[in-house]
Symmetry: C2
Subunit: 278 residues, 2 copies
Amino acid sequence: MKPYILISNDDGYQAPGIRYLIETLKPLARLIVVAPDGPRSGYACKITTKEPFTLQPISEEDGVNVYACSGSPVDCVKLAFNILLPRLGIRPQLVVSGINHGDNSSVNSFYSGTMGVVTEGTFQGVASIGFSLCDMSAHADFSACGKYIESIVRKVLAEGLPPFTCLNVNFPRTDGKYGCSMDCNPATEAHPETGKAAAKDYKGIRVCRMARSTWVKEVVECNRPGSGSPYYWLTGEVKELEPEATDTDRWALYHGYVAVTPQTLDTTAYGLLKDWKI
Amino acid sequence: MKPYILISNDDGYQAPGIRYLIETLKPLARLIVVAPDGPRSGYACKITTKEPFTLQPISEEDGVNVYACSGSPVDCVKLAFNILLPRLGIRPQLVVSGINHGDNSSVNSFYSGTMGVVTEGTFQGVASIGFSLCDMSAHADFSACGKYIESIVRKVLAEGLPPFTCLNVNFPRTDGKYGCSMDCNPATEAHPETGKAAAKDYKGIRVCRMARSTWVKEVVECNRPGSGSPYYWLTGEVKELEPEATDTDRWALYHGYVAVTPQTLDTTAYGLLKDWKI
């Protein structure tokens, strides 16, 4: 029998990225989809504690059951593991999140609802992988991602991952513009040129560490017409803190490689732990 | 001149925990408070990308300026560093978050808005510390925390922290009930016996690693009266995955010690990075 995979994301169950992921994984596994009922970009590991949330069956096509949850990406995974999957008698072998519309390399991983799903899947004791494409457009071209997703998922299905570790996989854009997209800037969501570009193949896979970078120019002040009272929008651009390094996820993305970053959920700073005395 | 410290939290600017923190730090530094305008527990590193947010000056007392932000804990820090602090000509030497009403040890750190503030402060290049007390009650007794906060903050003001690292400090309860509280269960927010208990001193400080634990029984299904359609509340209890370990934050909390866990924001799993080939 084929294994079960739980699929979720942060762009919502209707996003093209999760649709592409479902089609890609159908031949490999039996799929259960529990995803947010709308966009939840930038939700990180948010959990819903002050109000309840709901779960809605959406569709069952080709044996793939899709459910929409009104909570956060992490809520989706908790609801799946605590209620839905036990009722169905299913223990998935893998949790897969994405494909995110926008990159989650470097520090973006911390803000990412896509990686929130992966973090929670790992806490539930199941090997978990997040996939993200460096293109926030609704018309992003995912077609070059499929064969890499298949080979990475097959390997993790066969070998598993150590406890408290997961994979963060980022794909460059396929139109030759390999730069990292702005993950939180509503003004840049549409790349009109993307979707028209032919999908080139990537140069290969790099297993790489997380680059150190920081966001700058992150907040823009606006004034409410007529009142003069200010309000604020998040925006920004990435400043690379180690642009010379060639062993990072950012180097891979800028150079046309698929970036696979193994991540740990034991965030103890062991070096500092040894040295810090009080 | 005294250094500047930026203070925030996830319980909102009116919470007793942040009030206690302000009073504790007043003798050590000049303080700027930018905190959420209401509770944001469980917000993790959420950023607000789909709508704008606001900043409201609340009060200026004893030279402490307090601002309330309608966004997430991380939004507060981004707004402070990008707009407010540059306008005031201030570069803080430290970001301090808390005191959270509820513990952020072990995996709770991932869901925590308190630690979201700390993560963002670290990304802004400033040494950052989160303080949390194992008691979710609004009447939690913080009085034993002060002298430890003072010594930890003094040390970090003097020595700094390495880049991409921060401190996660958790205090046990002071009424002898050293167990870890449920961080996401609205039903357990009130501990009627707390606040009446005399504040005992802690046994000391342990610099310790993050324990591995997991949440179980995390979701409860309820039915809307009259409709029968279900909705879900997060709840749960912690299952310790290494109850025998004596070098963890959880051991410290269960045994009456202040737990100081140095955390890294480079979450690359370096062991797996070395071994994982594709």
